[in-house]
Symmetry: C2
């Protein structure tokens, strides 16, 4: 398809989003052109407005428009702290309603190959929060890649001598999945962690 | 999830795209924030630039930046004209390379319930093109909804007395599909149109 250059550029921009292939990117770009100019301007404004206004919460590094995010404001004084890699990892906790405590966004996991060392993560702020606030339990909810595992090990070591419980999420078979299609590592963890009746 | 207002607005804007649900919209909005401000600005510029520059081709109503689109420019004088509902319908013809002729974007199909009558489509321009240019065949490639069918009937009637062949795409079983899952209407058309060896 021979598209005009500006349309082609817009398609390339859309392809840059995660999970958006060339075909979907094209569909989205065509959608922009099929709507009124005002809608495109509104979208562009929403985009710039969000980038302009949203900044890291000064306590948990999640997204906020003021110094503190809504969760840090509303749940101030809570005694559980859930440590996640990135802000979007907070979503499943909040949508399931399983956790009513505070969060801490680490900003990544250790990855020596990508040049990400402890100094690139928010680890010192995490330690400081645990020392200063009345945190009883730190839940390390960091995924199960080797990088995430070594990040958990490091934080665990740093917190070891403090009067705080440390935990991580259970691993096992996800709900609703067919055993036939469970991968080997998941099966290994589920078997190891089997629960007696 | 309690998101800052500007982020929430951006999520709502993304949900307005076709095929983008709330979850994907949130993922896309979070992606914007996770990247540099420069990238968001570049995306926003690409968006406004495309909306600003792209306009309908003066001959075929496809997308163009100049008076004529690239296809109308390069294939001027071709004798086949493929009539489609919207610009993006041109894509499968071009990506399969099956057609080397000209296109004409109708701008919709008749839909009395939505208030779309013949006067809202580019039908007069189509008739004019067929009269003035050396068009030998008009391929009516308009989908198979009742609205599209009645639009095809109308155009067919308008072209009937002109010295031009009229055709439509074959209907039948799509490639690679399991017969078990073919819907009734498709089976009906495929059976009716069966081809003798």
């Amino acid at each position: 398809m021979i598209e005009p250059p500006s349309l082609e550029r817009l398609i390339i921009e859309f392809s840059g989003f995660p999970g958006i292939g060339k075909k979907t990117a094209r569909r989205l770009a065509y959608h922009v052109l099929s709507k009124s100019k005002e809608k495109a301007v509104a979208f562009s404004e929403a985009l710039l407005d969000a980038v302009e206004k949203v900044r890291p919460c000064s306590k948990c590094f999640s997204y906020a428009e003021q110094s503190l995010c809504d969760i840090c404001k509303k749940r101030s004084g809570a005694s559980s702290l859930c440590v996640v890699e990135k802000t979007s990892d907070i979503l499943p906790f909040e949508s399931s309603g399983v956790f009513q405590g505070l969060y801490f966004v680490l900003g990544g996991v250790l990855s020596p190959l990508d040049g990400v060392g402890p100094e690139h993560l928010h680890i010192p702020y995490l330690i400081e929060r645990v020392q200063k606030e009345n945190i009883q339990e730190v839940i390390l909810a960091l995924g199960s890649s080797p990088e995430a595992e070594s990040t958990v090990l490091l934080i665990d070591r740093l917190l070891k001598d403090m009067p705080v419980k440390r935990s991580r999420l259970a691993r096992g078979i996800p709900m609703g999945s067919d055993l036939e299609f469970v991968d080997e590592m998941t099966m290994l963890r589920a078997f190891e962690g089997r629960v007696l009746f």
